[in-house]
Symmetry: C2
Subunit: 410 residues, 2 copies
């Protein structure tokens, strides 16, 4: 099949090569497609020691009481409160000292540490300050109330209580509490397996261009808690892209490169021939040649090869899909800060613009332009999205800034 | 050596077992000790594909120009701008079509894709809309200016330029830019190797208590980009703690448990005998029995075994130490949100209190109490620190809340 002939299959592929896009899907439509094709992955079992950062697939119940028995909540001497009645500074009462392993004898005491079980028969723990050891005898200088210094079995957590709901991202303290409560294994959402297919370089290129998209996408996928299923590097022809997209094993496939209007931009054709090309061309800048579709039921996102456009389309579409499949909040993961525009932010009417910005004295100004490429996203503190109907933001406008890092002092 | 005899060595150890603490170091003094003993680890070389999230140990310079050659920044036909003078809708000029691999012949054009090098002799790229292919001839309908559609070599980045400064945490887009600029390897701060020593359980305990501190500390260390060097589980006696603390291989050692006033709370003695116990007892609640010192020059933090106290002392001291050694900002890593107190937050004068809080209608209220233990930190949205001089915060007070998760809608 020659390059210039119409594709003979390519369901829904509309020719753009050497022509340009006649229309593009809105960012909203592309987002809706992502949302419709990102169902949460199945659950898998992990040990509590590996659970931090994972998303619970089912609620988790306590298996043990916490504390698991009536226990000392302070260091001191366990004894019977009733036997301390009448004790005072001028009237020490005398107790024998025995091991905490044995049931408590009459007028006996046993040394316990916080967290230890009370010996059978004890109902209180006397702090050290209220007693003195005299040889093998404990002198008690204060009456104590039943239950003082004691934490009742199950007070913090009763066995069977639901500790965490499904959807919770397990925090470090959660892992600790689950371990306390006797939970050894739990069900979490399987991490999405993401395949990266780097399409290109352009075949008649003499000068080697290092691949930027592979390392960048790997880092982004890792940030979004995806697993890199495989990286297929530098596939050049339509058939090779087709094979890379058709192979089983991934929950999401990202193809970077060969999405545009050049003669060899065959990634959309490869997808259309393998499965279904649902969208090609999105009203987004940069990233207008991005696309999406399905191959054997697996969502495939076509990201432009130009690194800044690849980055922006990952952020708006691929990250959202991966977070959805991973059971996480689909929204952009960046912290957001409201700020005032200091220097005009220019945009094009009819497309959503992603504009890297930096803070100057608490206000924001644009960094570089679409033409300065990925370097502008590197120099920026974050980015602003300019809705399609607007031609930009004038100085003084209030905007939401998606931050690349926690803002200084926030 | 019997339990009740005075320690025969234990430099700087002051007896607290079965007595209680007579005084405690301030949180400020403990923080200052951490800051004085957390020097940044040495650098190591990593590949750019493994660099995301790491801290740069040295500035990074571009090795290549970006773009590496004069290149098309749009898809279209490369040609000589001078030869298009006079072209118009009613006056198409005719160009031959040749390969972009060869130097451009007179009145010739070559199909190029965005990112491709221009053929020798070409100085502009004509977009498809301004031309039509007619057999082997290109009809040109518009004059184009020199440089239009062209991105000059080095425009985004000139070789030798410093791209990123030392101390930068490498972002996904940074990894992409570094790869573009021909950087294959770079120097980053070595991740701190952290040993976890779980001291306990109390020896005369019949009922097994699962270890909560190990899984929780592992998750916290991972959050702070430390490496778990080893987990020494459930060492029971002073000699075993000494051996676990003295073994080489770690940059930081965390001992969880056996720090308090019980008869077998020998972790401070073990540290004093191995090296130097600088602080034992900190005016913090929970966590008052924490300590810190050095073993063979390695900072050792003694964290209480009670899980909530272990958690809080990790947050205030251990995390700070690990972040410092890893070359990261030492401050608490949590996002901070200002909020109004809805229900009184109670504290003790003279100690810093860490109080878990939750949001209710945008205001905060305390969750549980010190007695409810780790479960309160699990149920909380974040925490508030109450300075030592205060006895709490009254309703209506403004407080800084350290968030466990990105706040909803922020």
């Amino acid at each position: 099949m020659s390059r210039d002939s119409k594709p003979d299959c390519g369901r829904r592929y509309r020719e753009v090569r050497q022509r340009g896009f006649s229309d593009r899907a809105s960012v909203e439509a592309a987002t809706a497609w992502v949302d419709a094709h990102g169902s949460t992955a199945a659950a898998e079992e992990v040990r509590v020691t590996e659970a931090a950062g994972r998303v619970l697939a089912t609620p988790v119940q306590a298996k043990l009481n916490l504390p698991p028995f009536d226990s000392a909540n302070t260091d001191g001497y366990a004894l019977r409160s009733g036997e301390t009645v009448g004790a005072g500074d001028y009237n020490p009462l005398l107790f024998s000292i025995q091991s905490a392993d044995q049931p408590l004898s009459s007028t006996a005491s046993a040394l316990v540490s916080a967290g230890m079980p009370l010996p059978e028969g004890a109902d209180t723990v006397l702090p050290f300050e209220a007693s003195r050891v005299n040889g093998s005898t404990l002198e008690v200088y204060r009456a104590v109330a039943e239950g003082a210094g004691v934490e009742r079995k199950g007070r913090q957590i009763a066995a069977g209580t639901t500790l965490l709901d499904s959807g919770r991202i397990v925090r470090p303290q959660d892992a600790g509490l689950l371990a306390c409560a006797g939970v050894e294994r739990l069900m979490v959402v399987r991490r999405p397996r993401v395949r990266i297919v780097v399409a290109g370089p352009k075949p008649n290129l003499n000068v080697p261009i290092p691949d930027a998209d592979g390392p960048m996408l790997s880092a982004l996928i890792t940030r979004d808690s995806g697993l890199i299923e495989s990286v297929v590097s530098r596939v050049e022809e339509r058939d090779a892209i087709r094979r890379a997209v058709a192979a089983p094993g991934a929950d999401v496939i990202l193809v970077a490169g060969r999405t545009g209007t050049g003669p060899d931009d065959e990634a959309p054709l490869a997808l259309a021939e393998t499965g279904e090309l649902a969208i090609h061309g999105i009203a987004l800048r940069p990233g207008g040649s991005a696309g999406m579709g399905l191959a054997a039921g697996v969502p495939v996102l076509l990201l432009p090869g130009e690194p800044f456009a690849c980055f922006c389309t990952y952020e708006l579409f691929a990250g959202r899909l991966i977070r959805r499949i991973g059971g996480r909040a689909p929204e952009l993961p960046h912290a957001v800060r409201e700020a005032e525009v200091r220097r005009k932010i220019v945009s094009v009417v009819g497309v959503v613009d992603l504009c890297p910005v930096r803070f100057v004295d608490g206000d924001v100004e644009p960094v570089g332009s679409v033409e300065s490429g990925l370097a502008s996203a590197v120099r920026a503190d974050g980015f602003v999205l300019i809705p399609a109907p607007l031609e930009g933001f004038a100085p003084g406008a209030r905007v939401s800034v998606y931050l690349y890092e926690k803002a200084p002092g926030s």
